[in-house]
């Protein structure tokens, strides 16, 4: 593992922020990463239980709480186990070492003589009468965390590597479990009237008509173009908000056309242009190229966003399904003009989160209203059409691959050229909340940005191929403006880039008259990647792949997420007639040490289905003053009858560092589908989603 301390520890040196032994013989574990459906809490609990030798059932985890838990930034980018997991391991090992060292002095023995059985200390296999709960004291917590204690050897793991079930699922199959279900004293329900885009001004609001439709009491909180309907009866404020859409008159709203929704729109837009990688060369061999594209896509969480806030005695307390309680706390304090120590943000579970969705916006909505109505808990629930219409979406993304080939048809010089909007506009990176733009005196428009390459890049993510090519580069055109607000969604540019690159590898193989798997292996020296490709090719019976153009297709693709996290290879078998029907999917992933193999498999399967849904079906539609795909009929996702059989394998590599795996199947799945469709049809579709209309279009062109 790396010698440098993880950022989570650098920023949180006090042990008691992480670990405390409680009077009820439980272990309190505080973490900054939060549960967003990925099962991270049980994995982190397993790591602490392992290092301290405490039964995992004793671990009570507090995740995402600015009043108590450590600040670990945002839960994103498959970093939770890599960073937080490593931190929990080091912190737990250090506490164990401090306690055992002190106990050994007391017992006049060596720390290594002491064994720990579910938190009780034994010497020479005899109970000492001491355990964590009666022995640990303030002395063990005095010093800052050094990170110097040596964690256990993976070969001795008893809890890590086991499929321990999640605790949080019990409530989720029984009843109330989510932020949406919270009930607080003096709670009022709120619904928003949303400004149709930055700069739109509310010039008329027929409150009488809204009150007639609402059939009940509510109050209107209005600050500039920020409008909320607040009352004790949720049904009434919901009716008010629905009616308000037709009884509000706005001026100065943006005007969009369907063309704004296509990736090609970005080609003519002003952009920040950059070169990443090798300097351009003058080609001497044959150059081939192709353009691939993905439209704007939505997070489309099952639950519209929700936020709760209460303002009492000058203190603001907020509950949110945000990915980062500390960044949100800082933003809310700043926007509302409150000192940071007077704002607490606590994480509460929401629906599956795949990036920067409406969670933070809903929390600020609630806090703005709460500041106007002190003494109440304000519960803001977004409506479905509000979620689809106003959550940040993932930018449309166009990727052009241009490759110089040698005489044998192998790439010697590879260029990935990307046109896209920003892939990350979280408020901590300068992005704006919806409410900020609606409140009086909105800040200037956000400057577009993307994560640096050291963090995996945004539009450039996975844009550098990991094949043995002599020269590789990315040309990135980061658009200075996007037609609608864009931000992070599972994998950022990885999915569209891997789709383009791994599809183009198949096109190059075909051109060279080579089998696509053999063509890849001839230019791939990374042994971990080779193993995956060979494993999946064997399991899907690649060598007996049928001829091209029969309607049945088999395609394969691989990637290493961010070129530094987990590896995944995916093969897809499908049938194409009018529609595409996925039949079977095979996947093999290498994520180094896997903390919870069942949770990891769940992530692989979920990533495959999510990516398949995006590849086959999803497109945010733009027109008029914004997004027009506002329900599940106009933004369809994969259903039970469309989901294929999925077979996953995870490489057993407990001695290698853990690699984040929540996003590793995303790009390979999209590209494997693209390649399988090309195999089935004999013609290639380079634009997502691969819909019935696109299939008919390419078949008509022949």
């Amino acid at each position: 593992m790396s010698d440098t301390l993880p950022l989570s520890i650098v920023n949180n040196r006090r042990l008691e922020k992480w670990l405390r032994f409680e009077a009820d013989r439980s272990l309190h574990l505080g973490v900054g990463k939060v549960e967003i459906g990925q099962g991270v809490l049980i994995a982190l609990s397993q790591i602490a239980a392992e290092e301290l030798d405490v039964d995992v059932s004793r671990v009570n985890i507090l995740s995402g709480d600015t009043a108590d838990a450590p600040d670990e930034g945002s839960t994103s980018s498959s970093q939770s186990i890599e960073v937080s997991g490593r931190s929990v391991r080091l912190v737990s090992a250090e506490l164990r070492q401090r306690v055992l060292t002190r106990l050994a002095q007391r017992l006049n023995c060596s720390p290594s003589d002491i064994t720990v059985e579910d938190g009780a200390f034994h010497l020479d296999d005899q109970p000492t009468g001491h355990d964590y709960w009666n022995f640990v004291g303030p002395a063990d917590y005095e010093a800052d965390i050094t990170g110097a204690a040596q964690p256990k050897a993976p070969s001795s793991y008893r809890v890590v590597g086991q499929p321990v079930p999640r605790k949080d699922l019990i409530a989720k199959v029984s009843g109330a479990a989510f932020i949406h279900d919270m009930v607080r004293p003096d709670m009022l329900h709120a619904r928003m009237l949303r400004q149709p885009g930055r700069g739109a001004t509310l010039v008329g609001l027929d409150e009488a008509a809204i009150r007639r439709a609402a059939k009940g009491a509510f109050r209107v909180v209005r600050l500039g173009n920020f409008v909320a309907f607040v009352g004790a009866d949720e049904t009434v404020v919901q009716r008010a908000a629905v009616a308000a859409v037709t009884h509000a008159k706005w001026e100065g709203a943006r005007v969009l056309t369907p063309e704004h929704g296509e990736a090609a729109w970005f080609v003519d837009q002003p952009a920040d242009d950059r070169l990443v990688g090798d300097a351009p060369t003058t080609p001497t061999g044959e150059v081939v190229s192709a353009v691939y594209a993905r439209p704007f896509v939505a997070h489309a969480a099952m639950a519209p966003s929700c936020g709760l806030a209460e303002f009492r005695d000058g203190h603001m307390e907020v509950w949110s399904h945000t990915q980062g309680v500390y960044p949100l706390r800082n933003s809310i304090a700043d926007i509302l003009g409150l000192p940071q120590d007077r704002v607490i943000v606590r994480h509460a579970h929401g629906a599956g989160c795949y990036g920067h969705n409406g969670a933070d916006d809903a929390a600020l909505d609630a806090a703005v209203i709460a500041q106007q109505l002190p003494g109440h808990c304000i519960r803001v629930q977004w409506r479905r059409e509000e979620e689809f219409g106003y959550e940040p979406v993932s930018t449309a993304h166009r990727t052009r691959i241009a490759v110089e080939l040698d005489a044998a048809g192998r790439p010697v010089d590879w260029t990935t050229e990307v046109w896209a909007g920003s892939h990350v506009q979280r408020p901590i990176y300068g992005g704006l909340f919806l409410a900020q733009e609606a409140l009086p005196n909105p800040p200037p428009p956000a400057k577009p940005g993307d994560p640096p390459e050291a963090n995996g890049g945004g539009g450039t993510r996975n844009g550098t191929p990991l094949y043995d090519f002599a020269a590789k580069r990315i040309v990135h055109h980061l658009a200075l403006k996007t037609p609608v607000r864009t931000s992070s969604l599972r994998g950022l540019g990885a999915l569209p880039n891997v789709f383009a690159m791994e599809c183009f590898m198949d096109e190059l193989a075909e051109r060279a008259g080579k089998d696509p798997v053999a063509y890849r292996l001839a230019v791939l020296s990374d042994p971990r990647a080779r193993y995956l490709v060979e494993n999946v090719a064997a399991r899907c019976d690649w060598s007996n792949r049928g001829p091209v153009g029969t309607g049945r297709g088999l395609g394969l693709a691989w990637a290493r997420y961010k070129n530094k996290a987990a590896y995944a290879c995916v093969a897809v078998e499908l049938d194409v007639d009018e529609d595409i029907r996925l039949r079977r999917v095979w996947c093999c992933a290498d994520a180094g040490l896997v903390i919870n193999p069942d949770g990891a498999k769940n992530q692989l399967e979920g990533g495959i289905i999510h990516a398949a849904s995006m590849t086959l079906k999803e497109q945010v539609m733009l027109d008029g003053d914004g997004i027009t795909s506002l329900d599940w009929a106009s933004y369809p996702i994969m259903t039970f009858s469309e989901v294929p059989e999925i077979s996953t394998e995870i490489v057993h590599a407990p001695d290698l560092p853990t690699l984040g795996m929540g996003e590793c199947t995303f790009g390979p799945t999209a590209a494997a589908i693209g390649n399988a469709v090309a195999h089935a049809l004999g013609v290639r579709i380079r634009e997502m989603p691969l819909t019935r209309e696109r299939i008919a279009g390419v078949l008509a062109r022949g």
Partner: protein, 158 residues
């Protein structure tokens, strides 16, 4: 005017306006918050409950329309502290990621198993096709329903 109905085997009455959506009555008047709002459009299935043995949407159905009828919610699956085989099977299979879709899916599955204790995979897929799951837990959910059906059959044979 009050509306009387049976919820999870219990007689309840509500003074809510008959046009109030059933989901609001369940969540806000009866404090049964396991029935989840997803779209309000009968498109996602998050709000699914069982009404007189049939899985149905609670989001846009008016409470007046269920007067005198029997409604079962996810809270009704646990009886006297004992989980329904569906809940047990979902936990054993870890059939969920975020879990927001699960109460609706459990109710669709319950209606299926109550009328057909030996469903095929295709029967289950058909019964759940009105329920969306965004996290991609579908393969596990299908396995869990099959497992629950087997548990129920074995229990009935004892």
């Amino acid at each position: 005017m009050t509306i009387a109905l049976s919820v999870n085997g219990r007689s309840v009455s509500t003074s809510a306006d008959p046009a109030t959506p059933l989901i609001d009555v369940l969540r806000n008047h009866l404090d049964l918050r396991g029935t989840r709002y997803g779209c309000g459009l009968e498109q996602c299935g998050s709000c699914m409950v069982v009404i007189d043995g049939k899985a149905d949407y609670a989001c846009s159905r008016e409470v007046g329309s269920v007067a005198g009828r029997s409604v079962t919610t996810v809270e009704g699956l646990t009886v006297d502290g004992k989980m329904h085989p569906l809940q047990t099977a979902f936990l054993e299979e870890q059939a969920g990621q975020c879990g927001y879709c699960l109460s609706g899916i459990l109710m669709s599955a319950k209606a299926l198993l109550d009328r057909n204790p030996s469903p095929t995979r295709a029967d289950i897929v058909t019964a759940l096709d009105g329920n969306l799951c965004r996290c991609g837990a579908h393969p596990r959910i299908l396995r869990a329903v099959e497992k629950a059906a087997a548990m129920i059959r074995e229990g009935a044979g004892q």
